[in-house]
Subunit: 430 residues, 2 copies
């Protein structure tokens, strides 16, 4: 390996949703990536089935229909497999590893089925295979288990690993619709495939829990070891009854270390509504795990989509580039943090919650709302509360304003002859 290369050169196999995401990130964040890495990242060649279809999109990269133009190219450092499915991706990855290329893949089926073969082949050839994008889209879950929790024995992993089914379950509950109606809507919005079987049946999540069982629990299981049951039998009525009991229904993929071995399964699960996994809505994914030192953790983010998945693929590429092609792992933090202008609290923009003690007289509310209006602050909500210490209490929620604007009003608020005291001011919203 040349550890002083001036750029990291990629070959992409596949140029669909994820491949175009990677391409777009390389274009958009090129300067930033080069700053961080100390090297440019460059897509040299993209292998597609139909060159004409992608001609307008490649932006300087060479299009080819022959995968050997990538695998045999000595310029290419990292082969990025983003076609998905078992065939012919299996052969492409195998060949790339044999040609001593580092491989980055988003292919959950292939990693779930052939991880051992790939790991051994990579080792024999003194390279490696990275697959952050195969589980949880943009969520850095593989890296968290490989590095962040590396000093732990992970006892259990519970994941919401399929965005389509989580979107459907969220809508069932929030819109009070039945499964078939919501599935149609999800398909129209692009959150479900025209053939949604792999998602809805739980198979997609089952592949992913096989991968997490290897990465988190360090145990080797096969897809046939995983019991899976989908969400197509879930009825609105039960989601509502479970809500009354304090539960939300999610499609949970789990892997748990037991005395007798490991238990891995995917099925619709009712979880307490105050559990962090219950707040995972729509197409988001999350992985909740327990480690023997770190205790409970959860990582949450976008589980699919061109750019989030591309972000995970790129993080693998940069990880390889940092560790393999540079002398050591120092990630140029010291050159990357820049001086900056800092805004004062006056420039903060936020909503405000204000609680006022108000004289109990006709027209008091009007005088207050006028004061806010004169200060150019819109009121989103104004509520009269029970009396306290001889005064009416009024709670106001403002729209977003500059802190300076609010403070100007606050300074003069007691000048109105109806406000007795400002009892509380709390900023609202992130």
């Amino acid at each position: 390996m040349d550890s002083n290369k001036s750029s990291i050169t990629l070959g992409l196999i596949g140029f669909g949703n994820v491949g175009q995401g990677v391409h777009s990130i390389v274009q958009t964040n090129q300067g930033m990536i080069q700053d961080r890495l100390g090297q440019a990242v460059h897509i040299k060649t993209i292998c597609v089935r139909n060159i004409d279809k992608y001609k307008g999109l490649a932006n300087g990269a060479e299009l080819t229909t022959d995968v050997n133009d990538i695998i045999n190219d000595p310029d290419i450092d990292i082969v990025v497999e983003v076609i998905g499915g078992e065939t012919p991706a299996y052969d492409y990855i195998t060949e790339a590893l044999k040609h001593k290329k580092y491989v980055v893949t988003a292919n959950k089926e292939l990693i779930a089925k052939h991880k051992k073969t790939f790991f051994e082949l990579a080792k024999q050839n003194d390279v490696d295979i990275f697959f952050e994008a195969s589980v949880g889209g943009g969520i850095p879950i593989i890296k968290s288990f490989k590095v962040g929790y590396s000093a732990n024995q992970i006892e259990s992993v519970y994941g919401i690993l399929n965005g389509t089914t989580n979107f459907i379950l969220t809508k069932l509950f929030e819109n009070k619709q039945e499964f078939a109606t919501v599935l149609k809507e999800a398909q129209d919005l692009g959150f479900a495939e025209s053939d949604p079987t792999a998602d809805v049946s739980g198979l997609d999540a089952a592949y992913k829990i096989v991968i997490l069982t290897a990465v988190a629990l360090k145990l080797n299981i096969q897809i046939d070891d995983v019991f899976y049951e989908g969400i197509d039998q879930i009825q609105l009525k039960d989601i509502q009854y479970l809500d009354e009991l304090g539960y939300r229904v999610r499609l949970i993929a789990k892997a748990k270390r037991m005395a007798e071995g490991v238990f891995a399964a995917v099925y619709p699960t009712a979880i307490p509504s105050e559990h962090p996994l219950s707040t995972v809505r729509n197409e988001f994914n999350a992985i909740y795990s327990t480690g023997n030192m770190v205790g409970e953790s959860m990582i949450y983010g976008k589980g699919a989509g061109s750019l989030p998945t591309g972000s995970a693929v790129m993080s693998d590429i940069l990880d390889i580039a940092f560790d393999i092609y540079t002398h050591h792992s120092r990630r140029n933090l010291e050159t990357k943090i820049d001086p900056t202008s800092v805004l004062g609290i006056d420039q903060n923009e936020t909503q405000f919650y204000v609680r006022l003690s108000v004289k109990d007289e006709t027209g008091a509310l009007e005088k207050i709302t006028t004061a806010f209006k004169d200060a150019n602050i819109n009121i989103s909500n104004i509520i009269q509360k029970e009396r306290l210490d001889g005064h009416a209490q009024v709670v106001i929620l403002t729209d977003v304003v500059k802190e300076k604007t609010f403070n100007a009003l606050k300074a003069t608020m007691l000048d109105t002859d109806v406000i007795h005291a400002i009892d509380a001011v709390i900023r609202v919203g992130l």
Copy 2:
């Protein structure tokens, strides 16, 4: 550096809460760590103020009162600074870097104040300084920004970075108590220091947002740039009023990229109760961020404590060991995943939600509860619902049972002459 060392040798400066956590992890997870790393990790020397106090705890490590016994020892690869505070830790870290030692620290104040100096000194000496434990305890947040989201421009970071104040805010709301009462309880439980000023005032979180601004936004700000306001003025009444409006109050540390620069602040913030940060209860921490490719993400876990913080320190040590002392970053995944016994779904243990259509006759509920009792399944909750299609509907929530036990009952349930149909079965709980 010798890249074929048989073990990684540590020197600990400090042996309090975090230092003892590191020590305990090295003892408890030694075999697992050696499997993963391909090398043992060994604590050679621990520098303390009073040797007698720690004699019984060191377990083979050498105790010293002279920090030079660590800094000057050529055997020691990594110096772990866990005394906290600015003085004398600043001098110890500076000296260690000058002696070409890698440094791992949990010291938020020191990294917030002196990051630039340390990064430059590390670079001059061809080593590095790692500080995962300085923000968010066991949460791998520094690594996520450095590696997992490395292809993103991070636009904003919002963190619950102080466990003490989050514990107090949770209890205020859930136990309907005032600040002073809850603070006393937190102190009794060890979740708040006897002098809680740094936590309660927001200063602790302010140091941490300075660090995240560097690591996530790659911008260099100082502690004086951060507006901070604590939670001691928060009243129960306002937490309740905000709840009625659909908000939860959290002490949020934020850093946001703006057109004019960066805005960084810490203050009590009301956030919508369905926001993921709202579900962060008690002493837990969480960091919610937005990246220009990955979108929204959140990482959640234990923000303090001996073992969670020790877990973060150890992850830095292993990260250094993987990348620096081995030839490249392949983290022995292929040797680490083991074959395992796999349990079938029959062995699953879970609660069940069951919805039954029941004949509307006297004694029907009794017959059902008897059937569950005969099958050795405890009922946690049984609720009669409105009639549907001419049948009474009964919803049952069981205690945890083996799936096999439940299936045996399910197979015979329709034999009772009162159950017309099993309309739904959903597993409950993780």
